[in-house]
């Protein structure tokens, strides 16, 4: 029990420390529970996308088409939602997300092209399809069908997505295979598991989560417009940053929880910088520095401990 408590506390150190820093710098904003609530809700969308992405990253795959898939799914789901309502919109988003990422996965598995190349190429295609879909001007949905992007529904969907990700990763053969591929792909091959099939399944699972994230994003903002020239790739960066933090926290907590902690921390930072009135260019600098420092610290524990030792060793020795 003590071990579990210790692990929980350790994994919460990062967001708590970041929160305390901003609480000191901007007490008016960070002392209110409502601010914390907003940051928590804002972390849901990147976290859902991040859960999909972490299956990919762990198995050694990159997916830069997530943003384009999210935009295209959002556009088609909005169109369906306008005609048929919320439930068909939800189903469309999930199925279409799975379908698009399955196509990407099949191309990857069939031609064995590096995932970065395949996903960038597919991002271009998905963006193009979005730009051509029904005139290419995107869709704005009325408020009555945006309920899924607002509490309590976004919270419920977020919890469901978390449970699915957690179960898939920890309690299924697929999750075991993903973790095994991440550790040693050659060994997995020798065990008779076909990594290509597992990786294809990663694309499908990722598509499921991106479909949910696209639905939440559409319902949260109320509209979705197509993107072109790989502009959609910028949508991948926040989820990726959260996953990086989650991967580093994986030593002390489950990665699925780690990803949410990572996304939540990023939301605290962005709200904190707004509260401090930092110009947007400087905000990006702060995020970049934070991520670098965090990864340097978490990825190089030996370097840090050797630095500590150097400090404690007496000079005359």
């Amino acid at each position: 029990m003590q071990k579990i408590m210790k692990k929980i506390l350790e994994s919460l150190i990062l967001p708590v420390v970041v929160y305390i820093i901003f609480l000191i710098l901007s007490p008016a904003t960070f002392s209110k529970p409502s601010s914390l609530y907003i940051m928590f809700l804002q972390a849901i969308i990147p976290a859902v996308m991040g859960w999909g992405l972490c299956f990919m990253l762990i198995s050694g795959l990159w997916d830069f088409s997530l943003g384009a898939v999210s935009v295209l799914v959002g556009i088609v789901a909005a169109d369906v939602g306008l005609t048929y309502g919320v439930i068909p919109m939800l189903i469309t988003a999930i199925l279409f997300g799975i379908a698009l990422d399955t196509v990407t996965g099949i191309i990857y598995a069939l031609f064995r092209i590096p995932s970065i190349v395949v996903t960038i190429a597919m991002a271009l295609i998905y963006e193009a399809v979005g730009s051509l879909y029904k005139g290419g001007s995107g869709f704005t949905i009325p408020r009555k069908i945006t309920i899924l992007g607002n509490p309590p529904f976004n919270f419920i969907i977020g919890i469901c997505a978390f449970l699915i990700a957690y179960m898939l990763f920890n309690y299924t053969g697929f999750g075991t295979h993903v973790r095994a591929i991440g550790s040693n792909e050659q060994l997995v091959k020798n065990m008779g598991i076909r990594p290509t099939q597992v990786k294809l399944a990663c694309f499908i699972v990722c598509g499921f989560f991106v479909g949910i994230a696209a639905l939440l994003q559409l319902s949260y903002g109320g509209s979705m417009i197509p993107k072109s020239g790989l502009e959609s790739m910028t949508m991948v960066f926040q989820p990726i940053m959260g996953v990086f933090i989650g991967l580093s926290l994986a030593k002390i907590c489950n990665i699925i929880i780690g990803v949410f902690i990572g996304e939540f921390t990023m939301c605290i930072i962005s709200t904190g910088m707004i509260a401090l009135g930092l110009p947007s260019a400087l905000q990006n600098v702060v995020i970049g520095i934070f991520l670098l420092v965090f990864l340097i610290v978490s990825m190089n524990p030996k370097m840090l401990s050797s630095l500590k030792k150097r400090k404690t060793v007496p000079i005359n020795s």
């Binding site: 901007s26 008016a28 904003t29 209110k32 409502s34 601010s35 907003i38 940051m39 809700l41 804002q42 969308i45 935009v71 191309i107 069939l110 031609f111 092209i113 190429a121 271009l124 295609i125 963006e127 193009a128 399809v129 979005g130 730009s131 051509l132 005139g135 290419g136 001007s137 995107g138 704005t140 408020r143 945006t146 992007g149 607002n150 994003q217 559409l218 949260y220 903002g221 109320g222 509209s223 979705m224 417009i225 197509p226 993107k227 072109s228 020239g229 502009e231 959609s232 910028t234 949508m235 962005s270 709200t271 707004i274 509260a275 009135g277 110009p279 947007s280 260019a281």
Partner: protein, 393 residues
Amino acid sequence: MKRVRKLIALILMCAVMFSIVLTGCSSVGASTANSDMNSKVTSAQATSLKKFKVGLSIWGTSDALGKSCSDLVKSSVEALGGETIVDASGLMPEKQISSVENLISSGCDALTICPFSDSILPKVSQLCTEAKIPFTIYFRKIQDLAVKKAVESSPYYVGNCCEDETTAGYNVTKSLADKGCKKILLISMPRGDTTAENREKGVNKCVQETGMKIVSECRDINQASDATKAVESAIAAFPDLDGILFASSGTFGFSGAIQALKQHDKVGKIFVASIDFPNDLQEAFKDNTIAGMCGGHFADPMFTVILLYNRLAGTPLADKPVTLNLPFTYLKSAADADNYYKYFTGSIPLYTANEVKQMVKFYNKDMSLEKLTQIMQNYGLDDAVKRHKNLVK
């Protein structure tokens, strides 16, 4: 099996290239509304002018402003018997240079561009001069004197059309001040964009004059959900926030901001002002969320195309480069918004085929630079309603 794989890989590559070409450069077909208008013009006139290809280099055609710009240019060029090649290149300097190169290699006889900043114009001018094709600039004026001198020295530079962005920035900010706003969130483009910077000059001037404060700014809006998030964060950070100002990005960010206001029960407590009209203004007007709205300037590239067409037809409106000014349209009520969507972006083009032809000297001998300027000075909601009240149902 290897052969099949290679074949499929080839097909995929072609699909990728096709998708790039499809979104980047799209040639234009006929629009039904315009075909009806064309019937009023004699066929002898329509065939007497060569079919020119006009290139439109634009940041994108998926947002409300970009789509309206490209639709109007397409319908106008079509009315003049020409063809439009649209290249949606984003607002990145290097992409815009590639866009000009692409349009030239696509066989355009003339092109118009909305440059990211003055810095790319010497290169654009060089490319057009080498290709011997006339070019114009829309939504921008050249501010750097050295660049202006260099560009204007090209015999192929025909002129530019722009709006008074600084005054627009001032006016929409003033509308927030008039509503009693003190602390505002500024949403705009990344730094370096000439138009956004000019608007922000007006914003800053008004902020200083009225004692308002920009408590936060956001410059990376890609989707409505980004605006929702920015507004939510600003509400969390500044509980006394009472104004949101879209100096840019309002076309797609507006609905996201409204979504956040409704979610946090801030409708009527936080006011929104925007330059560039989004698609869903009526409800926001009814909710009393809007402090000021200015935009509707999407006819700007069409007027630069008119300059080009007069030049291509051998009847230039001026011997030297000209600067045209288009006034912004201000919307004050839901009825104004209704009229805007009906008369500006409805099924009938803002300028019908007949009206467009009358702006080209080849078809209308009385046309002159002064008359074109007069048409532009009249530009606005009242003018559109007056011209088309019998056409629009």
